[in-house]
Assembly symmetry: C2
Homo-oligomer: 333 residues x 2
């Protein structure tokens, strides 16, 4: 290869341009976040815990970040996606369950009478969940969920549910990971309902998903192995269950936790009670135009007590309308 | 900096030497394994699943390897380390439990009467486990375990239990990880009994440890958060519980699993039943001189049925005496 002065200058210039472009990109790791307290608190936190000579430095393996899913990473309004899935399954399975035509809460689901479904309370909801989430193998359930997510769209946005995820949060997850954090989902949702999509959508592998579960049994039939999902709740990973789920699955206390409702409060309290610097955040759904606006009186994702005590506890309330430049990723197709 | 021809040659030679040394090191990733079927099966397996253009290639994120702990990664004979810990705790706590002087199985533990302890069966063992593994916070339990492991030695080898780990397995774990595998422990032992040491000893972080557990509750007292370990079994991660534990914690089927007893059989069956290339291995304790020799009739780590059906199922039996060049790591001090 022959190099003259001209080509050397040309090559150096190209390097400089590439390096500058990189610098500009680096200078805003959260482009969909508007400038403000939330964004600057996050960036300050990450800068501090990753700075080797800072007294608040945190070793890489201790950089655990936990995120709620419904309402924190993807849309939960007007109904949790998993419930919509369960109602759809009831309709699909109804021909094999003629008794549902007369038995509540199934009758109400089949008639689209959400008021009666709601009135059936936790007991009714559990019956619906059991009828649709158990009595099959793990593989069958995974396929059913994957197919459903690939074909059903959210009512307001006419997008797949997996496209109703928050762009600013995707950026935050990537930003944390690029700074050595290990990112986890810690959700009240079904652990096996989330796993088919978390890796592709959030970059979070199944082994970093914590959620609610049903009792499962291992069986061998005709030399074939199967995990059978039983009609019995194993663990509810919600409210005070979240720190327990973290203890069981992760075995370390997070240094950053992000939720959006009173049901995430205990996770944030557990996170913030650790030594050193900790960050606790909540999404506040304030954007009726671009997404939804709901909080203290909502039937899903109720955010009430948290709003009263956040300031005293140093919890950061992320105002969707004010803090987020965009809500969803641009459509890929 | 001034460079003449001599120094350039010198620098190049140093590079060459370093590169050769590296090559020699690379050529045997398992130096404590003797040449033989087990070693070559492992290396062939790893070479195949990591070779991009091989029909049996496995994507990095699917390279999950699970290891039993007792008898597979560290010594379990003549008694599981966790039981020795529990007996020691009974002795330590006895002054606060005068009733143990007369109540079985505690009386037998205090008198060192292991025959009576054994005769108390699963019920007796559970009482001992509950008395020593619950009724404290998660933090207190972790400290107790860490202190115990740092100060108590294995009876035959006069080493800390964490030094009675198998050097060939440490090499295998490192070899798998250097080939993109994620390594997990899947043990019948207590999940929180193992976690204080797995990262330092095996390079396996707490979030990659699956084990048995007690019910835990989250409480807030005087503004302080605590996870309280309750006297109730949550999950037994043994035998048919192992595939269930893998499903709950990992959410993917391993492609390699390593055990040492009939209680690991279901984990190996579950692993091998997946598509594509899979490897299932068992340590056979055949070395009475360097470690212990036990199998079909042993009260711990019973290896019986597996020995009968291993060949038909393509499971690899690793003969400790024949396959392992050394048993334990050289003492660091």
């Amino acid at each position: 290869m022959k190099l003259n002065l001209k080509s050397v200058i040309l090559i150096l210039s190209l390097f400089l341009i590439a390096s500058c472009a990189n610098q500009i990109k680096k200078s805003d790791p959260l482009p969909s976040w508007n400038e403000g307290t939330a964004k600057s608190e996050i960036i300050n936190f990450v800068n501090t815990v990753t700075k080797k000579d800072d007294p608040m430095f945190v070793e890489k393996e201790q950089r655990i970040a936990t995120f709620d899913n419904d309402g924190t990473l993807w849309v939960e309004y007007p109904m949790y996606t998993q419930f919509i899935f369960a109602f759809d399954r009831i309709k699909k399975l109804a021909p094999k369950h003629l008794e549902w035509k007369t038995n509540q809460p199934f009758k109400a689901v089949l008639e689209g009478d959400m008021k009666t479904v709601g009135a059936s309370g936790m007991k009714g909801v559990m019956e619906i969940i059991m009828a649709t989430h158990s009595g099959m193998t793990a593989d069958e359930f995974e396929k059913t969920v994957s197919n459903w997510l690939a074909t059903n769209k959210q009512s307001k946005f006419k997008r797949l549910y997996t496209e109703c995820v928050y762009q600013p949060q995707l950026e935050l997850l990537a930003y944390l990971r690029s700074n050595g954090f290990k990112t986890f989902i810690v959700s009240g949702g079904g652990i096996q309902f989330m796993r088919p999509m978390t890796e592709k959508v959030y970059g979070i592998p199944p082994e970093q998903v914590v959620g609610s579960s049903v009792v499962t049994e291992f069986q061998i039939k005709d030399g074939k192995t199967a995990l059978i999902r039983m009609p019995k709740i194993d663990f509810i990973n919600d409210k005070a269950g979240k720190p327990v789920g973290i203890y069981e699955h992760i075995g370390r206390r997070p240094i950053l936790a992000f939720g959006n409702s009173d049901a995430d409060m205990q996770m944030i309290q557990y996170t913030k009670a650790g030594d050193g610097l900790r960050l606790g955040l909540f999404v506040h759904h304030t954007d009726a135009d671009r997404e939804y606006a709901y909080d203290r009186k909502s039937h899903v994702g109720k955010l009430d007590k948290v709003l009263d005590i956040a300031a005293d506890n140093g919890w950061i309330i992320v105002d969707m309308k004010k803090d987020w430049k965009m809500i969803f990723p641009k459509k890929s197709k």
